[in-house]
Amino acid sequence: MDKYKTGRPKKGLDVYTGFGDTTYHLKIEKIPTEVKAKGVSSQPWIRLFCKSRGMCSA
């Protein structure tokens, strides 16, 4: 499924760490955007409609 949605792997990090007097569980994940590549139909992006630059398909 990911190949349709991103064309690239998800990026992120999940670490436990202390900083100052506090201990944190720091977690971050890059949210991919839907991508329509040239010549490919079976991607979510194709449900777009032009006027909102595709955002209406969100």
Binding site: Y4, K5, T6, K11, L13, V15, Y16, T17, G18, F19, G20, T22, Y24, H25, L26, K27, I28, E29, K30, I31, P32, T33, E34, V35, K36, A37, K38, G39, V40, S41, S42, Q43, P44, W45, I46, R47, L48, F49, C50, K51, S52, R53, G54, M55, C56, S57, A58
Partner: protein
């Protein structure tokens, strides 16, 4: 080519190696928001990062991080990641803390409102045959400037990500440049949907937006047929000026009978400019296209072109059970809020900027659930297309029915689908 493409971040040296920068600070183009989850949004590159509550609290508390205070390898790893993604910058000194509106009271109704299409004006220097807004040089309907401030403030408070400025031609809006001056003060990404013809070198440099979509509806003859004599050359000049000003540019093309054989030529042209986002669609029978729909091509032809040529980045991934419009709505020039510019009949009215406000209007949204699409329930592509466009489905008879254009894109036989191609 890099011109006109999504901006790439240059590779940086070891962030901990340069002693002349003793601090990390949050990149001014990044802001902390709370949509369905806490997040960091980089408006410059349209990058969204999901974070957890601990990370939100950490970044709220530590917007300037002295490198000397980083002693744990895990913290160093984390900061290196933020730096590599451009969320942190090197700094010679601490910066003033920025305020982010992430408290509970600001959080939006779910699904979140992420994108907002704003019709600034129905003025336009062109009079295109397919304009759904019926914009023209004779139309002088504008959104009041006082409402613009209110819309942006409300969108920012609601944790919105992108405002799409449309019309009419946005540059014909009488307060456009006054509005342009205030855009950098918002934690929002701004994009313009333009015909490109008014973007001279000076305008391209002055624009405080992050992206401009320019309409190119064919090569010179067919574009001018749809949009008026001389408009092609001016639009191309606009694109060149934008690229010269290092603006991210995309192209939008409507398919019609005059340009149907020109897509290879258009592709060569836009690739020559290094533009890697090309949004292609079939005009909806709305506005002036109602009088010109004889210029429409068949659904199959449109679908084939869309499949072969279009390429772009769309919205950020989201898992909702709704059809199109889960995260977007539209403000028209009178301040009325609708799901989209096409679904603008009274029964679809969500509210107004002045009376209900954007937050309440968004709460009033009547989303259509994917489960409501009974005709699509057995379709293998439903998870990907999520029913396509609800306005087009409505045009073909049922707002909860099929969108035949998107069905065609997925190579579904319209005869088998028993879609009523003759519109009401």
């Amino acid at each position: 080519m890099a011109e006109g493409s999504l901006k790439e971040r240059p590779k940086e040296r070891d962030p901990f190696g340069d002693k002349s920068f003793p601090c990390f600070v949050l990149n001014p183009s990044c802001s902390l928001k709370y949509i369905e989850y806490p997040c960091i949004y980089d408006k410059e590159r349209d990058n969204l990062f999901r974070i957890n509550e601990d990370t939100l609290n950490f970044l709220m508390k530590h917007q300037s991080i002295p490198k000397s205070s980083v002693t744990s390898p895990e913290m160093e790893k984390f900061l290196r990641f933020l730096f590599s993604e451009g969320l942190l910058l090197n700094s010679r000194k601490k910066v003033r803390e920025r305020k982010f509106l992430v408290e509970e009271k600001y959080r939006p109704a779910i699904p979140s409102l992420r994108y907002l299409l704003v019709h600034l004006t129905l003025r336009c220097n062109l009079r295109c045959r397919h304009c759904y807004a019926d914009a023209s040089p004779q139309n002088s309907t504008d959104i009041p400037f006082s409402m613009i401030n209110s819309i942006f403030n409300q969108m920012e408070e609601m944790q919105g990500l992108i405002v799409l400025l449309s019309g009419g031609e946005p540059l014909c809006y009488p307060h456009f440049w006054k509005m342009n001056d205030i855009l950098p003060s918002y934690n929002l990404r701004f994009e313009i949907l333009s015909n490109g013809t008014m973007i001279n070198k000076n305008a391209a440099k002055r624009l405080n937006v992050h992206h401009v979509q320019v309409s190119i509806d064919g090569m010179e003859k067919s574009h001018d047929f749809m949009r008026g004599r001389g408009s092609f050359k001016k639009a191309i000049e606009g694109i060149e000026n934008l690229i010269g000003a290092d603006m991210e540019v995309s192209v939008s093309t409507m398919i019609h009978k005059k340009n149907v054989n020109e897509f290879d030529d258009i592709e060569r042209m836009i690739e020559g400019y290094g533009i890697n986002q090309w949004i292609i669609n079939q005009p909806s029978v709305f506005g002036r296209w109602k009088d010109n729909s004889r210029l429409s091509v068949s659904l199959e032809t449109a679908a084939d072109i869309m499949r072969r040529y279009s390429r772009a980045r769309g919205p950020h991934e989201s898992k909702t059970n709704f059809t199109c419009g889960s995260h977007i709505c539209t403000v028209l020039t009178d301040g009325k809020v609708f799901p989209c510019p096409f679904l603008n009949e009274n029964d679809m009215l969500m509210g107004t900027i002045r009376d209900t406000g954007l937050r309440k209007a968004w709460k009033n949204r009547k989303g259509i659930s994917i489960a409501d699409l009974e005709e699509c329930s057995s379709c293998e592509f439903l998870e990907k297309c999520r029913g396509g466009c609800r306005f087009r489905a409505k045009e073909y008879g049922n707002v909860c029915g099929r969108d035949p254009v998107v069905c065609s894109v997925y190579n579904k036989s319209l005869n088998k689908l028993n879609v009523n191609i003759k519109k009401k």
